[in-house]
Amino acid sequence: MKKLRKRVFMAAGYNTIALGSGRKEFNPKKPRPGLEEYVKEAGQATLKMVGGAANVDEGVIGNFMAAKFNNQGNLAGLIPYIDEGLKWKPSCRVEGACCSGGLALVTGIKSVLAETADVVLTLGVEVQNTVKAVYGADILAGAGWSKERKDGHAYFFPGKFSDRAGEYFKKFGLERTRKALARWYRNAIENARLVPTAQEFHNIQEDLEAVALAKPNPKSFVDNLNVFDCSKVSDGAASIAIMSEEGLKKAGIDKKDAVEVVGFGQVEADLTQPPADLAKLDTTEEAVKQALASAGIGVKDLGTVECHDCFTITGILSVEAIGLAKQGEGADFVSAGNTARNGKIPFNTTGGLVGWGHPTGATGVRQAVTIWEQLTGKAGKWQIELPADRPYALSISMGGNDRTVVAIVYRRASL
C-alpha cells in the first residue's frame, strides 16, 4: 500500500447515544427514535462544526441491514434529510456488514484523495432494537454466507465466534483465555462508565471479572461464550467530516482540532470460504499490515487502538492480529492489563463494542470519532494521554467473520 497522495483529515465527530438494554431510558415496549432521528442528530452536529451544509461536497452513509431491521433502503436519501443544503449533493450508502462504517470512512477518504470532494460528511447508522434478539440473529447472519445459515447456530455470529473461542481454548488453554476474556469485559465496562453516550454508561455491577466468568450455557446460547462476552444489540449513529487541507480551511477548522489519516488498509476475503485458522484473524492481520505500511510506521509506534471487539475473544485475537503479541500470547497480554486505559497501549477507550455498544453500521465511524476525541483532547472524562514517542492511533473495522476489514492509522493533524 502506497503512502497517501495527499493529506486527508478528519474532524467534527459526533456520536449519538448507543441505545439498548442497559441504558436507563431504554424501554423495548415504548416508541424509540428511528433511523431518521439518529441520522439527523449526528449529521447536524457535524454540520454545525464544519460551518454548515454549504461547506459539504459529498455525503456517505454506512449501514448494514436497515432494509430488514427498518424496512428501509435507499439510505443515501436520508443525507439531504439532515439539512436542506445537502439536497442534490452526491451521496451514497455503503454496506459491508459490521464494517459498513469502516467502508464509509474509506469511501470518504478516497473521494478526498480523488479530489472530487474537499469535505465529505461521513455517517454510520443502525437501529436494531426493532426486533427481538432471536430474530435479530437472523438478520445479522446476513454478514455470513447465506448457504451456511441452515447449519449455523440459532445465534449465528455468536456461534461463529464461539467456535473461534473454542479453538483458542483448545490450542492455548481454557482457563488463561477465560481469564483474559473476563479482563477484556472489565476494561470495556470500566471505560464505558466514563462516557455518557455509552450503552454501558449506567452499568453499576461490582466485580466485573467475576461476573464475566459465568459458565457458558449451550442449551440456551452458545458453547464457549456467555452473554458478557458479546456486544449488545444497539441503536445509534456516528458522524465525522473527512477533509482535505482545503476542506479544513473552508470549514474553518484549525488543525489542532483535527486528526490526520496517515494510512489505511482495506481488505476483502472470500465470503464463501471458512477461516483457515479459527484461532487467528488473518484478514484483520493483512489489513493492519497494509495500513501500517501505508502510514510508514510499525506496531511499536501505536499509542492507542480502537478494535472491533464484537466479542471478547475478538479483542484477544485482534491484539495478536495487530502484532502486539504472538499467536496464543494475546490472552496473557490482555490479562496483564496492557490494553486497559492505564496500560501500555489502551484499547477501546470509550468501551468498544462490548462497552460503548455496537450499532453495526455506525461502529466504524464511531471508532474514528473516539480516536478524533482522544487525539484532539476532546475526550472529557475518558481522555487518555498518548506517549510522545507513540503518537499514532489505529482503528479496525471488521465485517462478518473477518471477511471485510478496514484499518486506518491516524495522528494529530497539528503534529
Binding site: 445459515r149 441452515k150 445465534y155
Partner: protein, 457 residues
C-alpha cells in the same frame, strides 16, 4: 401404553379457564415435543381443549399462540436441531413460526364433551365444584368404557382440584383408582410447583406417569396426602382466616378499610411476602376462597373454616379474581394499573382511597426493622438466609403495633404449617416449606425459627 402413547390423545376440561389454559399450554408443548421425535412420526397426537364457551375458546387459542411463540423463542437453540432435516426452515423466524403452527395444530378447541371419549388421559380443570367434577368424570368414564372394551386402555384422569379429596371424587365418579390429583399453581405456565395427591386407591402407574410428565414440564413435585385443601390451601385458607380475624379485631378501633390495610401491610412488608393476605385473596378470588373453605369446612368438623365476612362481600358482588387478560378485578382492593388503590368498606359499600389514610396508618404501625428488606430485594439477595435472620431478629425485639401484628401472623403461619405435618397432610416440614416457597413465592417457609423464638420468649 407407554408414556408417549398415553399422551397421544389428551383432553383438558375447562381449558379456557385460568388453570386450564396453563395446563393446556404446558401439555401442548410436551405433546408437540413428543410428536416431533422421529420415533413418533407416525403417531397422530390430539389435544382436545374442552370448554363451555366458544368465545372463551377463541381467546384460549390466541393466548396459546402467543405463549407458544414465547416458548419457541426461548428454546430456539434446541428447536433448530429438531427441525434440522426441514430444508425449507432456515431462519429462526421460520422455525419459530413452524413450531407455533405445529403445536397449535395438535389442539382441537371444542365445546363437545364427547371429544374426550377417545382420550387416554383426561385432565380436569373445571371450577372447584365437586358435583360438577363428578358428573363430568363419570360421564366420560362411562362413555369411554362403552367405546373401548379393552380395560388396559381405560382412560386415566388427572384432577387439578385444589381442595377436594381425590378419593371422594374417584369413588363417586366410579373411576376405580384411575384418578390422581395433579394440582398446578396459578399461573401454571410460570409457577414451579405441582402438588401430587394420590388416594389410597390410586394406581401406582398413574403416579409414575405423572412424575415423568411433571419432570418434563420442569415442575417441582411435592406429594400431599389426600386431605381437603392439601398442603397449599391447607395453609392458605387458614392463613387467610387469621388475616380476616385480625382485620375484624382491629376494626373495633379503626375504620374497616384501615384495618384491612394494616393487616395486609403487616403480612407483606413486615413478613417479607410477595403480597399481603388480602391482595392474595383478591388474586385467587373471594368466591374461589369461599368455595375451598366450604369444601374444607365440611371435612374438618372440629375446625371452623368459614368466613361470614367473605360471604357478605360476595353477596354484595365483590369477588376479586382476574379478567381474561390477567388484570386484577376489584375485591377487598380496588386496583389501578394492577396496584391496590382503595379498600372496600362493607358498611358504606364504597371503596375508600388508600392515600386518604395511608400515612396515618403507617405511622401507627411504626417502623420496619432496618435495614429494610423487601420481598423483591430478598429474592435477589446473595445471602438471603442471613438477611432474613437479621431482619426477623430485629422484628422480634420491636414492640410497635406493626411488628407485634406481624409476629402474631408469623406465629400463626408456623402453627398452621406444623399442624399440616401433625395431621399427616404433609409428609414433612420441608414439604410444607417447599409448597409455600415454590407455589406462593414466599422467600422462607412457614416452619422456621424466626417466630419460634417469639413463642419461647
Amino acid at each position: 401404553m407407554n408414556y408417549a402413547e398415553r399422551l397421544e390423545n389428551v383432553t383438558v376440561l375447562g381449558a379456557s379457564g385460568k388453570m386450564g389454559s396453563g395446563i393446556l399450554l404446558l401439555t401442548a408443548l410436551e405433546m408437540a415435543d413428543l410428536s416431533l421425535k422421529p420415533e413418533n412420526k407416525d403417531k397422530q397426537f390430539v389435544l382436545n381443549a374442552v370448554d363451555v364457551s366458544n368465545q372463551a375458546l377463541a381467546g384460549l387459542m390466541k393466548y396459546l399462540r402467543a405463549q407458544v411463540q414465547k416458548a419457541a423463542e426461548k428454546k430456539i437453540v434446541a428447536l433448530r436441531k429438531v427441525y434440522e432435516s426441514c430444508c425449507d426452515l432456515v431462519d429462526n423466524k421460520e422455525i419459530v413460526d413452524r413450531y407455533v403452527s405445529d403445536v397449535c395444530a395438535l389442539v382441537r378447541p371444542t365445546t363437545a364433551l364427547e371429544s374426550a371419549y377417545a382420550s387416554g388421559l383426561v385432565f380436569e380443570a373445571v371450577i372447584e365444584n365437586p358435583a360438577l367434577k363428578i358428573k363430568l368424570l363419570s360421564q366420560i368414564n362411562r362413555n369411554c368404557a362403552l367405546l373401548n372394551k379393552d380395560s388396559a386402555n381405560a382412560p386415566w384422569f388427572f384432577t387439578n382440584t385444589s381442595s377436594i379429596p381425590v378419593h371422594e371424587l374417584d369413588e363417586k365418579a366410579g373411576l376405580g383408582g384411575r384418578l390422581l390429583g395433579v394440582h398446578f399453581y396459578n399461573p401454571p405456565a410460570i409457577q414451579k410447583l405441582v402438588e401430587l395427591i394420590s388416594a389410597a386407591s390410586t394406581k401406582a402407574e398413574l403416579v409414575e406417569f405423572a412424575l415423568t410428565y411433571a419432570k418434563n414440564l420442569r415442575k417441582i413435585v411435592v406429594p400431599s396426602n389426600d386431605f381437603a385443601g392439601f398442603i397449599g390451601n391447607g395453609h392458605f385458607m387458614r392463613d387467610a382466616l387469621h388475616g380476616i380475624a385480625e382485620a375484624e379485631r382491629l376494626s373495633k378501633d379503626m375504620p374497616f378499610a384501615e384495618a384491612v390495610y394494616t393487616v395486609n401491610r403487616a403480612a407483606q412488608d413486615f413478613l417479607v411476602r410477595p403480597m399481603g393476605i388480602f391482595q392474595l385473596i383478591d388474586y385467587v378470588g373471594l368466591d374461589v376462597c369461599q368455595y375451598i373453605m366450604s369444601v374444607m369446612g365440611e371435612r374438618f368438623k372440629d375446625e371452623v373454616i368459614h368466613s361470614p365476612l367473605l360471604d357478605r362481600f360476595i353477596a354484595a358482588g365483590v369477588k376479586g379474581g382476574q379478567f381474561s387478560d390477567g388484570s386484577q378485578k376489584d375485591g377487598f382492593f380496588k386496583y389501578e394499573k394492577n396496584r391496590p388503590a382503595a379498600i372496600y368498606d362493607p358498611g358504606t359499600k364504597q371503596y375508600v382511597p388508600i392515600a386518604s389514610f395511608q400515612a396515618a396508618c403507617d405511622t401507627k404501625m411504626g417502623p420496619l426493622p432496618q435495614p429494610a428488606l423487601t420481598w423483591k430485594s430478598a429474592v435477589k439477595h446473595p445471602k438471603k438466609e442471613a438477611a432474613l435472620e437479621e431482619f426477623f431478629a430485629k422484628l422480634a425485639a420491636m414492640d410497635n403495633p406493626g411488628a407485634v401484628l406481624a409476629r402474631r401472623y408469623g406465629e400463626r403461619s408456623r402453627e398452621i404449617g406444623l399442624k399440616l405435618v401433625s395431621d399427616k397432610v404433609a409428609r414433612s416440614e420441608a414439604d410444607v416449606n417447599m409448597v409455600l416457597t415454590s407455589g406462593f413465592y414466599h422467600v422462607y417457609g412457614p416452619i422456621n425459627n424466626y417466630f419460634k423464638r417469639e413463642m419461647v420468649k
